[in-house]
Symmetry: C2
Subunit: 234 residues, 2 copies
DNA sequence: CGGTTGGTTGACAGCTGTCAAGTCCTGTGG
DNA sequence: CCACAGGACTTGACAGCTGTCAACCAACCG
C-alpha cells in the first residue's frame, strides 16, 4: 500500500471529482482548508487493500482515481460484497458507530484514494456549512445507492437495476450513461447481487439477445433504456 | 395524521430514547436547544402515513414511540421494504441528496414521531460538536443495520440474520435481547428479506423444531443464540 | 355468528444454484 | 511474434430451494 507526501493545499483544486465530491460549493480558501485535511493519498494496485475489516475507525476515504469494492467474508468463507466505489465517492462512514470498519476494502484497479481524518473533517465541517451539507449529501447518496437493488427482485430485475444504477452514477460524474467501462468482474457482480456467475452470464446473454444491453468484457453498452427499466421493474 | 402543539423545551428531556437518540452527550442547555428544534410530534395510528415517496425533503424524523416501516412500490405493484424503525432511530436522511424522500413511511403500530427540520438541525449541529457526532453516528448505524441481511444468504440465513439484528438493536435500546415484541407482520418480514410469507412461515416452524427460536404471534423468543448465529452464517 | 385478515401447511413448478466441461481472454516468457 | 498457462467467462445438464397456487386454520371484530 503506497502513499505520497504531497502539496496538500492544491489536492482538491486539481481533482477530477471537484464538482461532485466533498468540495461542492466551497470557496477557494475553503477548498484549500479541505485539501489540507487530506492526510495522505493511497496509491493502490489492483487487488491491494485500503483497509481491513475490524481496523479501528479513524478516517473517511474519497476515491480520486480508479474504483474499489467493500466486502465481508462469512463463516463459510463466502465473500459478501457491500458496495462499489467510484470517482468522488466517499467510504468508511459505516465504521463510525461500531468504531471499527465493518468491511474490508480493496482496489478493483489501480487507484488513488484520499484519506481524510474523521475528527478533522468534523471540525472543519462545523465551520463551513457548505461542507457539512455536502458531507451529509454524499452519505445520503450512498445509502440510496446501496438500496437501489432490492432483495425482492428476481435475478433479471436485480441485474437490470444494477446497470441502471451504475449508469446513473456515471452520468452524475459527467460520463456517458449509455456506454461505460467497469473494472468489476462477473464474479463480483454476481456476488453483489446475491447471484452466481453462471446466472449473471446467462442473463447477460439474454439481455444481448433482447437488445437491451451488450456487455463486452468490462464494457457495458446500454441499447434500450426504457426496455431495461421495464425489465428492472422500476 | 395528527400532531400536538407542545412545550418543546422539555421534549427531549423526558424521552425514553434520551440515551441513544440524538441527545447523547448533550448538556442540559444543549438538550433544550435540541428539544426546541422539534417542530412537531406526529401521532400516528397503525397504518397511517408519516410521509409519501416523492414528497420534498425537509425534515428528519426520530421515533419517540412505536415503530415504522419505509417502502417503495415497484411497477408490478409489489411493495419493497427498505427498513424498520424503532425507538430513538432516525429516518428521512435518504432524502437529502435527491431532495425528496425515496420511500413511503407508515406506522406499524400507534406511534409518536418527532419532526426535526433539516436546516435547523444542521445549524445547531454545527454549534454543538456532540450533536454533530451523534447525528453522523446514528446515520452510520442505520447504514450498517440495512446491510446486516445480505442478498447472498439463503432464506434461512436471512431470517436468522434478521432476528439477530433485531435482537442487537433492542439490546442497544436497553430491552431484553432474548425475548421481544415486534409489530411486524409475517408479510413484512418476508418482504424485507426478499422472501414469501410461506417461506418465512415454514422457516419459523423449522426454527421452532430445532429449538433456535419461537415466534409466537408477534413475540420472538430466542432460545439458542449460538446456534442461531451458526445458522445465520455470521 | 359470520366475515375478514393474518398465518400455516401442502402440492407442484420453475428459477436459480451446483457441478462440469469447454471457450475466450490476458499476461508472461520464449 | 507466437506459445502457453492460468484465470475469467460461457454454456449445458440437472437438482433443489423457494415461489406460486390453493386450502385450511386462528384470531379478531363488528
Amino acid at each position: 500500500m503506497g502513499s505520497v507526501a504531497s502539496q496538500t493545499n492544491s489536492l482538491c483544486q486539481n481533482c477530477a471529482a471537484i464538482r461532485f465530491c466533498l468540495p461542492v460549493g466551497l470557496s477557494k480558501s475553503d477548498l484549500t482548508s479541505l485539501g489540507c485535511m487530506i492526510s495522505r493519498r493511497h496509491q493502490l494496485q489492483r487487488g491491494e487493500y485500503l483497509l481491513q475489516r475490524g481496523a479501528p475507525f479513524k478516517n473517511f476515504f474519497a476515491v480520486q482515481q480508479g474504483s474499489l469494492k467493500s466486502y465481508t467474508v462469512n463463516t463459510e468463507g463466502r465473500e459478501q460484497i457491500w458496495g462499489f466505489y467510484f470517482l468522488g465517492e466517499l467510504l468508511g462512514f459505516e465504521g463510525i458507530d461500531p468504531g471499527e470498519y465493518p468491511y474490508t476494502v480493496c482496489a478493483l484497479e489501480n487507484s488513488v484514494i484520499c484519506e481524510i481524518p474523521y475528527g478533522n473533517l468534523l471540525n472543519i465541517a462545523a465551520e463551513i456549512p457548505e461542507l457539512q451539507k455536502q458531507l451529509l449529501k454524499l452519505i445520503s447518496q450512498r445509502c440510496v445507492v446501496d438500496h437501489f437493488v432490492s432483495r425482492n427482485n428476481t435475478a433479471q430485475q436485480r441485474l437490470a437495476c444494477f446497470f441502471l444504477g451504475l449508469s446513473q452514477r456515471f452520468n452524475r460524474h459527467g460520463l456517458n450513461p449509455n456506454e461505460f467501462h467497469i473494472s468489476i468482474s462477473r464474479q463480483d457482480i454476481a456476488n453483489y447481487l446475491g447471484l452466481t456467475v453462471e446466472t449473471v452470464s446467462r442473463l447477460l446473454g439474454r439481455f444481448k439477445e433482447d437488445a437491451l444491453l451488450v456487455a463486452h468484457g468490462k464494457t457495458i453498452k446500454i441499447d434500450d433504456f426504457d426496455q431495461l427499466k421495464a425489465v428492472a421493474g422500476i
